[in-house]
Symmetry: C2
Subunit: 462 residues, 2 copies
């Protein structure tokens, strides 16, 4: 492997080698995957990315594209061979243009999501993609994994925010597809190929993205409901009455709420601990929640919820969201947990959680299901904490079998074993098992057509 | 070509042959293209479509998939060779399931768009795709062309309505991808390939589609504005104040309005004829337009519009929309017209119309630009009527040169030569000229990977 040629392409400040600390580039941030690389390239332009891939294509050098490295499935780290070069997009972090009239902007792949949100906000626009890692994840990674987050109910996933892409293909050729158009039926929509492909078909170097009007007058409430199916009925009713004002609708199980109350000092459940399920919802109605309050009173009268509290200030709103965001943190205090980011049709959420919980109990008595998630999108984070008296290692050893057990239940409800985290290396086996042979074969055909030498993030997804 | 085998697959009532009247299947509905076919197949199931393609793949028989045959670019009719078999999906017209809780339904490809809208409405849900041909176009065709229509500003194009697809590939294998999930990152998103591919990569046989809450309390207004850029500023201001309530924002030029008033008996412009541009807009605010009225008063105060009339009844609302929908009809009374369905960034609409109008005047003095369209999406129907004193044939002979002149202006504004009508046979030359060689080459690579024997709608798109 001739690394000198690659170093020359990016220049003196454009690479890190074996004498540098590369741990941030070869290790998944939670420590689940440790890889190795002889070279981290930090290109500063699309032309440099193109030259890198042209060289790697000719020399059959494997390339691992990397954004903020905040993924959860190991898709952005090199394998342990030491033969894969990392291409970090972090120096390509400019906002190239902002067009308030067109409700769009063009950002380079290495732009941090929070910076992109801020650039939109500065001109009175909203970029709605929002997720826990937004302070460090990069838009190129968000698009390559088709990220979800908390606003999908209203705005859709990352895919739906994309108007155009600039992409460098495996052979170094560049698709200059940064059109900022809402309607464009001029041939195959090539950008769709690269969204959610986890860097296995090419490298996204820039994107033109859709903006929305800024939201004002948010209403936020925490509700108690009797069952998950009741939450689904409430969701349908509120979508009917509030329409698009409904932006987020998150479900939290009582055990999840209980863990948060027990372990996270700065949180407090303002409702009784009694009910089995809680819903955190948010509306953008321009009236600071007045209409939401009215609709919740109506829903209470209709027996769709048993208790509710509305945030009366931004501080109260933050406190309610803090509960939701603290679930994962709280789980850490209870030892090991096995996590499953899955989706099912919204109407099936209650039955799925019941069935999967029973399957978990039968398989591992004493294990505790901590279910929560973006119910409005059918996305359940179906996490399982270890039995309290087990050593962590014993529980972690169940990872593959537990995943298979959960994914089998997901399949019964026509769901997906990966809702918003992608495949990476973690879920390759699941992809082969739960997608049909025809689908897998077509994915392989696409991979071969776009990356004939298999240099783009090999070993990921397929 | 052994047609008997194909006839056996679909059975006695499943085909039409040379002794039948095939004109509806081989002629584009406006009469712009006339083809020929020895056989129209009318499969009744996905299994039959699969058997047809398996046979055609093995025997190298070209197949033209056809929905309602309402397209405008010749994409759904066979060529003149008489060697292409038509596969009409019209007998596959069932709604397979409706899931109000999941805000989704599953429809077969031959389902007429209006029937699909009605099925959603019956359970209090909205299927938002809406366009002039909705009484006869089929959802399979809508998806294969990524149709647009009047609600794109709020709901996006056909692509954004799709949760999953069932597709028969060129070799007859079936992708059973009818998942009804809002989040699914389990490998490449294969369905995206077939949306907008105009039947050249496979046949869509069914789709799971996204539904929305039904809209109540619509507000509709016709406004007079001083210029197209002013309309764009007004749009941005109303999106800010009305948010997602703004569903449609259509621009009509004074010459277009004048033609409608002159030729269409049942229309009346309720505003003065003076202003150079009109805007027809619609909101869904649940208040029958009260908030719209208030915002329009504010916008008048800010100098963003010069006159406005709000519909006070459903009859008045229909009358305003009648003006918009009558533009094409009115143009027919003025002789031949050359039509260009293009898009540019929303902020560039005014400058594009000015520049393209100047180019038309220079090229063909006396020709009259009739511009209108879905401004909220940057989609301009840039139509040009013949000089009044010319014979129609002389003007029609300018078709190719006029298109090139308009598309060149579109390209200067980073727009698309096809906004919502696709490529078909009409715009293949434009595709080669206005998409980059890298893009065209990648489209060809996809075509070869999915349809190696080039049996799927050959001669269309590429």
């Amino acid at each position: 492997m001739n690394l000198e040629q690659l170093k020359r392409i990016v220049g003196e400040n454009g690479w890190l080698g074996e004498s540098d600390d590369l741990s941030a580039y070869v290790t998944e941030w939670r420590g689940s995957w440790h890889g190795a690389t002889p070279l981290v390239l930090l290109p500063a332009s699309t032309a440099e990315v193109s030259a890198i891939l042209k060289h790697c294509h000719a020399e059959r050098i494997a390339v691992v594209p990397q954004g903020g490295n905040t993924g959860l499935c190991g898709g952005a780290v090199p394998d342990e061979s030491g033969q894969q070069v990392v291409v970090s997009l972090r120096r390509m972090n400019r906002i190239r243009s902002v067009s308030p009239d067109n409700f769009s902007l063009v950002a380079e792949a290495g732009c941090i999501l929070a910076n992109l949100q801020a650039a939109a906000s500065q001109v009175g626009r909203l970029f709605p993609l929002s997720l826990a890692a937004e302070g460090s994840c990069q838009i190129g990674g968000n698009l390559s994994t088709n990220a979800g987050g908390v606003n999908v109910l209203r705005y859709g996933t990352a895919r739906e925010q994309v108007l155009g892409l600039e992409v460098v293909l495996a052979d170094g050729s560049v698709i200059d597809g940064l059109r900022e158009l809402r309607k464009d039926t001029a041939g195959y929509d090539l950008k769709q190929l690269f969204i959610g492909a986890e860097g296995t078909l090419g490298i996204i170097t820039a994107a033109s993205l859709r903006l929305f009007p800024e939201v004002t007058g948010v209403g936020t409430a925490l509700l108690a409901v009797d069952s998950a199916p009741q939450a689904v009925r409430l969701l349908a009713e509120l979508r009917r009455s509030l329409g698009d004002q409904l932006q987020a609708f998150e479900l939290i199980s009582a055990p999840a709420m209980e863990l948060v109350s027990r372990h996270i000092a700065d949180t407090r459940n303002p409702l009784d601990d009694g009910p089995p399920w809680f819903v955190l919802l948010e509306t953008a109605s321009g009236d600071d929640g007045a209409m939401l309050e009215q609709e919740l009173m109506r829903a209470t009268g209709a027996g769709l919820l048993s208790d509710a509290v509305l945030a009366k200030s931004e501080a109260e709103r933050q406190a309610l969201w803090r509960i939701r965001h603290a679930v994962s943190e709280a789980q850490k205090h209870e030892g090991a947990s096995l996590k499953h980011d899955v989706s099912v049709p919204v109407g099936a959420i209650g039955d799925f959680i019941d069935a999967a919980s029973r399957a978990v109990s039968n398989y591992c008595p004493g294990a505790r299901v901590i279910a929560f998630g973006h119910v409005g999108d059918g996305n359940v984070h179906f996490n399982v904490s270890q039995p309290p008296d087990w050593p962590a290692e014993r529980f972690i050893a169940l990872r593959a079998d537990m995943a298979d057990l959960v994914y089998r239940e997901v399949a019964k409800f026509a769901g997906s074993f990966s809702a918003e985290h992608g495949v990476g290396v973690l879920k390759r086996e699941a992809l082969l098992r739960y997608r049909s042979p025809v689908e897998v074969e077509l994915m392989r055909r696409l991979k071969a057509a776009l990356d004939p030498h298999n240099i783009m993030n090999p070993g990921k997804v397929l």
